[in-house]
Subunit: 269 residues, 2 copies
């Protein structure tokens, strides 16, 4: 696994800013560089070294890539993918990413990220090896997180029992109830060590909230500028409350067609 | 190349909604399903069938994956990656994606997407084979687009000469001036067939703006709900104007350390 660029960049930056701070310069410049150092060297609320994103055939691209890219903004972390078996893992469109680590090789993580998807995500809830691995890993994590319908997989472990959580908008309350969790309508929800996000792109917001929690606002702003994350969608939308009823109904019917047969077949009663 | 899920989903949806519309049901339900059909069947402003995302070692993950996932929301499109040579292509952190198509095999596209990155992106501007391929492809496109510092590569082709454009916040005005373009401070800029976006996550906003341009608001809302794209960053930030001066200066110094030596060595005077 190649080391995260952020580590190299930060070390490089540190070395240079130290040099600048020691070089003959105005007091104000030296003070400014010291302040920059203070941001970079902020002691995290908890030490985070390893962040694993669990991939499986059929995961939704941005569910995984949003947190993968955003959480890599934490300094000194190793962010990597884990799958049931190492090798190529397909996203929901057939894009193949090479995964070098498998669940039998990973016995602890500081942060676990579980991305969502559609039918193939639901089928992960039925995979005992995966569900048991998440339960084991959860014992070692500082934070266990899910994005979108990744909450279904996390829910299947029983770890969301009695917790507040969120998930993809699609039948969110009903789905979380299945796993004993209470749906909160929010981009992300933290309940103890469990962080869950709404659908797809909400994983970016949740990841930034985690960074903000660990490192504070100045550090988070540096990560946000690095991602130029000052979003401006062209039109209003993207959540149930901001979507026209007709579009909302259409999307629900479409999801129902794909998912209801699976819910009927596998949901425990 | 596996067909985009969206096509399959839409066909599935169509078949079912047609069935529902014809089934004995209330007039209001039949009318509603007809309205849903009208959204799905919206005739695009221009026919778009092929969308190619150009990948190269060192591209920024979300620069590519944002538009890849968002533009796949257009119905009936094939979205795929293209690289100089087929095989594994590394993002800026070492994640390897399998790319099945190379520039010598692709002679036309309806939409070309050029993602950005850092030093390795700048070096693409010096690769004559790549620059010439983009010029050739551009003759066939409906829209030629760039995300983030992908505008540097697009700029190096000369195609942004005399155009309004945007790019990553880092020395944006100066960089675009190098390529004869005028910087506009905006999440995305359209000038004729050229669409350019600000850094990284702005590629999602630009892609939605393209869908909105092609398909109208109802269709775009369906794509936005599919991505649950109603962003709420935890704090203000992500653009120069929303970032504290100290953080902005720190990030600029950091980027300068990586990039200025390359600009000095390769920029044409």
């Amino acid at each position: 696994m190649r080391k995260a660029t952020s580590i190299i960049t930060i070390i490089f930056l540190l070395a240079n800013i130290k040099g600048l701070a020691q070089a003959p310069s105005s007091d104000s410049l030296a003070k400014k560089h010291q302040q920059m150092m203070d941001i970079i060297m902020t002691k995290p609320k908890y030490p985070i070294k390893t962040i694993g994103v669990y991939l499986y055939d059929g995961y939704q691209t941005l569910d995984a890539m949003g947190p993968y890219e955003t959480l890599a903004g934490l300094s000194g972390v190793k962010v990597f993918f884990i799958a049931k078996h190492k090798g190529g893992v397909r996203n929901q469109r057939g894009m193949t990413v090479q995964v070098d680590t498998s669940i039998d090789k990973v016995s602890s993580l500081d942060i676990l990220v579980i991305p969502g998807g559609a039918a193939e995500t639901y089928m992960q809830t039925q995979d005992t090896a995966v569900v048991n691995w998440i339960k084991r890993i959860d014992k070692t994590t500082t934070y266990t997180t899910s994005v979108c319908t990744g909450a279904w997989i996390l829910g299947a472990t029983g770890l969301l029992q009695g917790k507040n959580a969120t998930t993809n908008w699609y039948r969110a309350e009903e789905r979380l109830k299945t796993y004993g969790a209470t749906f909160q309508e929010s981009r992300w929800v933290q309940d103890g060590k469990y962080w869950t996000s709404a659908g797809v792109t909400a994983g970016i917001d949740m990841s930034l909230a985690i960074i903000n929690d660990l490192m504070g606002e100045k550090y988070t702003q540096s990560v946000m500028l690095n991602l130029e994350y000052d979003p401006h969608p062209p039109i209003k939308g993207g959540s149930l409350k901001n979507t026209q009823p007709l579009v909302k109904d259409m999307m629900t019917e479409m999801y129902d067609m794909g998912m209801q047969p699976l819910f009927k077949k596998y949901d425990k009663n």
